[in-house]
């Protein structure tokens, strides 16, 4: 994908919702912001990670906060631009390109919104390949890029620069500031060189988001199964992911609560064919691990995606409700999200959902 346009926007948004694996915030608001600028004639160019020079400055951009607040307070484009400019000032050079910190959910659209204002291209890639709830859960940081300095700011031009001892601490301090700003802040973080970006990013994820979204629409348009559309797409996609239908069922129990600042919970699904067969999916902002009969069938960082049984529209954890009929789809993630360092940061052990990581294709 070379450009994000009005023609490709809806497919891209659907794909970012899919890659959000239940979290990351509803891309609807970000999509409207992009549509507004694209309709005015703005352009969003996408370049490959390999298209930049090793010493170029690349700046990830995101909105931090609670999805429930973002739908009311809205991300602010002017504040994003100021965050970028401040980062350029601190780094002593102009940015060559933008990149998403998180392709899943609303943050998949943020760099494009900024691109539509500044004309800067967006790198086809991101730092998560999905959605995660905390700033340090990012391949940039896993492979040595410093999360600090972080520019945390809002529309009132409150602007705080966080320089912390490590990426965990960066998250901790930025979160406190974000809450004071109304639980929604625009942030620029992980400033990096072109070389660092090439070495640490999860590549081609913007194209992936677009193509997943398109595979769902194509199947609907031709009257074939959107589920098969998704599975066939991943099997033949450029980076050959493992993809499998994990479960077909109905949501028969739903439990959500807030503990330690997380939206935690479980969803129970009951098979449509066999009422004795159940799946339990654990939620911690995103879908993290799925069990059938106490045996895990997929776990973080592999993607667990709940989609509507008929339309394959991705279902966010907030929108999940009793009685919904869903397909649960599991998708493997690229190798650089499965190394020991990566799993130590965003695998099942740091999320405290399982004692070791088992790749989805090995569970079968």
């Amino acid at each position: 994908m070379k450009k994000l346009t009005l023609d490709t926007l809806e497919d891209f948004l659907r794909g970012t919702a899919f890659l959000g694996t239940g979290g990351g915030g509803d891309p609807y608001v970000g999509g409207l912001m992009l549509r507004q600028e694209l309709e005015k004639g703005a352009e969003c160019n996408i370049i490959k990670g390999t298209d930049v020079k090793d010493d170029d400055l690349i700046v990830p951009i995101a909105v931090m906060g609670a999805p429930t607040v973002i739908v009311e307070r809205l991300p602010n484009a002017k504040s994003c631009i100021k965050a970028l400019r401040k980062m350029e000032e601190l780094m002593g050079k102009k940015a060559t390109a933008l990149i998403a910190a998180e392709v899943g959910g609303i943050n998949g659209t943020l760099p494009f919104i900024l691109s539509s204002y500044t004309g800067l291209p967006v790198i086809d890639g991101d730092g998560m390949g999905r959605a995660f709830p905390e700033l340090q859960m990012c391949t940039f940081g896993v492979y040595g890029v410093n999360c600090s300095p972080i520019i945390v700011r809002d529309e009132k031009d409150n602007e705080i620069i966080v320089n912390a001892e490590n990426n965990h601490a960066s998250e901790m301090f930025a979160r406190v500031i974000c809450m004071q700003m109304g639980t929604k802040s625009e942030i620029a973080l992980y400033p990096m060189t072109g070389k660092q970006m090439k070495d640490t990013a999860v590549h081609h994820t913007c194209t992936l988001a677009y193509e997943v979204g398109k595979s769902i629409r194509d199947a609907r348009d031709t009257g074939s199964s959107p589920l098969n559309g998704i599975i066939d797409y991943f099997k033949t996609s450029f980076d050959k992911r493992y993809c499998q239908l994990l479960f077909e069922g109905k949501i028969t129990d739903l439990h959500r609560e807030t503990t330690d600042g997380w939206a935690r919970g479980t969803v129970k699904l009951t098979s449509l064919k066999d009422p004795n067969k159940e799946m339990i999916v654990h939620l911690q902002n995103e879908w993290l691990i799925a069990f059938i009969d106490d045996k895990p069938v997929a776990m973080v960082p592999d993607l667990i995606c709940l989609v509507d049984l008929e339309t394959a529209e991705p279902i966010t954890a907030e929108a999940a409700r009793y009685g919904q009929r869903v397909h649960v789809i599991g998708v493997s993630v690229p190798a650089n999200m499965r190394t020991k360092e990566a799993l130590d940061t965003f695998g099942p052990v740091p999320f405290k959902v399982y004692d070791r990581y088992i790749p989805i294709e090995e569970i079968g």
């Binding site: 609807y28 608001v29 409207l32 912001m33 549509r35 507004q36 906060g65 609670a66 999805p67 429930t68 607040v69 739908v71 009311e72 307070r73 809205l74 991300p75 602010n76 484009a77 002017k78 709830p133 809002d154 529309e155 009132k156 979160r175 809450m179 109304g182 639980t183 109905k250 028969t252 959500r256 609560e257 807030t258 600042g261 997380w262 939206a263 009951t270 449509l272 009422p275 902002n285 907030e318 929108a319 999940a320 409700r321 009793y322 009685g323 009929r325």
Partner: protein, 513 residues
């Protein structure tokens, strides 16, 4: 005694009810001037029941008229929209993503001003009354009679919206004002969309409600008039004149409420079979389960409280093809009594199959006596299959539950359906929606973010429940009858102090019933 009326797109139905029983019911066609149709149906049921007008204690009307006006882009008015938000929440202008023809119809004038709140209750910035007055002056020069006002986090704090309304009323006393906190929930854009739709309907609302009031006047009915809202409870006419958008989706809600009442069952699947479509929903405690997904009305995304309904293209007028292997989704609709075989027409419909299969006395049964058994068998299987799938979607567990069938098209199925324990077709099934309108409960709600760490969960819910009960009482419910119908807790991720969005609804019977 109460009168319940349902004004649909095609039919206007009415019932007279006394002591929880339906005395009489009738159907007429909906007229161009809906007030005339309401007059006709009330006159007809009064005549039929021989009840004199002064014995009527209340009249309840449910209408899909405002929804239809939006969908058909008819009788909408020009609006201005003010958002209290600066310096925040201005990244999206009003009405982004709306269908172009609707935007052209409303010719919106858009304004942004300082104001709004944070999630924790702090002000984004104080309301600047000079700024608001300048906006009002600008609107006043443009011949606009309806203004939508939306402040960030107005569901948490409505003070700034209310103050803005006061300022507008001082300078432009004739202008209709729609305030977002009275209409929608958290979700700035969806709530604003609903508020703007409301503003566009406000002139029509006055006309329609006045025509209802005039119909009652002509009939010498002095009893109070109530209008159904989308959650199955009632509003006073004055409130509907200000908030017509709250009547959206009252149609399916009323038929479900009516079905629950007529059958005496308060937790069940409801199947409302009309002429063209069937709506399948679920009631618990006598009220419809609400949908969790964003509701799209006339091409505009909103966050209305809508009943959770699956609609399928199956009704009494559904056209049957391929030897019974294909049914609908198209229908002969209101032309059923001309086009169906039993009425001498040339189109095979679901009604014709029912007449043959169940030996019904509708039209001229001799006209369908030659329908072959394979066609009959295939059609029956298709109909039950369509219903089974829709019903299964609405169930919350694999456990068999009863299903209540209502609506004029109910005759097309008497077969046992998989997944239900019992198929119930109550008396007066064809006017369940008018019965639903007559049920006359009013509600009070609380929907805000609470912090459990201050008083603890139980105490917080208790306080919020009392507030909901008070709201129900303020809306006209008799104190004795008020009960808490629903408590929803939604924890807010990332927020401190165990923050929870609590939605509590209290309902009660009207004082005068």
């Amino acid at each position: 005694m109460q009168i319940g009326v349902d004004v649909g797109g095609t039919n206007t139905d009415g019932v007279v009810m006394s002591n929880g029983k339906v005395l009489v019911s009738d159907k007429t066609v909906t007229t161009e001037n809906v007030g005339d149709g309401v007059f006709n149906i009330i006159k007809s049921v009064l005549d039929k029941s021989k009840v004199s007008a002064n014995k009527i204690t209340s009249v309840m009307i449910g209408t899909t008229h405002f929804t239809n006006a939006l969908v058909e882009r008819k009788k909408l008015q020009k609006i201005a929209a003010i958002r209290l938000c600066l310096p925040a929440a201005d990244s999206l202008v009003q009405m982004i993503g709306w269908p172009k023809d609707l935007v052209d119809t409303l010719q919106p004038k858009k304004y942004f001003a300082k104001g709004g709140y944070e999630v924790d209750g702090r002000e984004i910035s104080p309301l600047d009354e000079d700024e608001i007055n300048k906006i009002i002056d600008s609107i006043g020069k443009q011949n606009i009679d309806s203004i939508a006002v939306n402040s960030v986090y107005s569901p948490l704090n409505s003070t700034m919206e209310k103050r803005t309304a006061e300022l507008i009323a001082q300078k432009l006393p004739h202008v209709k004002i729609s305030l977002s906190h009275a209409i929608g929930k958290v979700g700035l854009i969806e709530r604003e969309n609903a508020t703007i739709i409301n503003a566009a309907l406000s002139k029509l609302a006055s006309e329609i409600i006045t025509s209802f009031e005039e119909a009652l006047l002509k009939l010498n009915i002095a009893a109070p008039l109530y209008i159904s809202q989308n959650d199955g409870t009632l509003m006073l006419p004055e409130r509907v004149k200000s908030y017509p958008v709250l009547t959206f989706a009252c149609g399916p809600t009323n038929s479900m409420r009516g079905a629950a009442f007529l059958s005496g069952i308060d937790e069940s699947i409801i199947v409302d079979i009309g002429g063209t479509t069937s709506d399948v929903g679920y009631i618990k405690n006598g009220f419809p389960r609400q949908s969790a997904v964003a509701a799209d009305v006339g091409g505009v995304r909103t966050n209305f409280r809508m009943p959770d309904v699956v609609s399928i293209g199956l009704g009494g007028g559904s056209i049957i093809r391929e030897n019974g292997n294909r049914i609908g989704p198209d229908s002969v609709g209101y032309l059923l009594t001309k086009k169906a075989l039993v009425f001498g027409g040339d189109t095979l419909t679901a009604t014709d199959i029912a007449v043959k299969r169940y030996n019904l006395d509708i039209g001229d049964p001799s006209l369908v006596k030659n329908i072959e058994s394979s066609l009959l068998e295939n059609s029956k299987n298709q109909i039950t299959n369509l219903l089974e799938i829709a019903i299964d979607k609405m169930k919350t567990s694999s456990k068999a539950v009863p299903a209540i069938f209502v609506g004029g098209g109910t005759i097309i199925n008497k077969e046992k359906i998989k997944g239900i324990s019992e198929l119930i077709i109550p008396e007066n099934f064809s006017v369940a929606n008018a019965v639903g309108a007559a049920l006359g409960q009013v509600s009070g709600e609380v929907d805000r973010v609470f912090h459990y760490d201050k008083l603890g969960r139980d105490k917080t819910i208790e306080i919020a429940s009392e507030e909901a009960k008070q709201n129900a009482k303020d809306a006209g419910a008799s104190e004795k009858s008020i009960e808490i119908m629903e408590i929803n807790e939604n924890p807010l991720a990332y927020l401190p102090g165990s923050s929870v969005r609590l939605q509590i609804k209290a309902v009660g019977d009207l004082e005068n019933i």
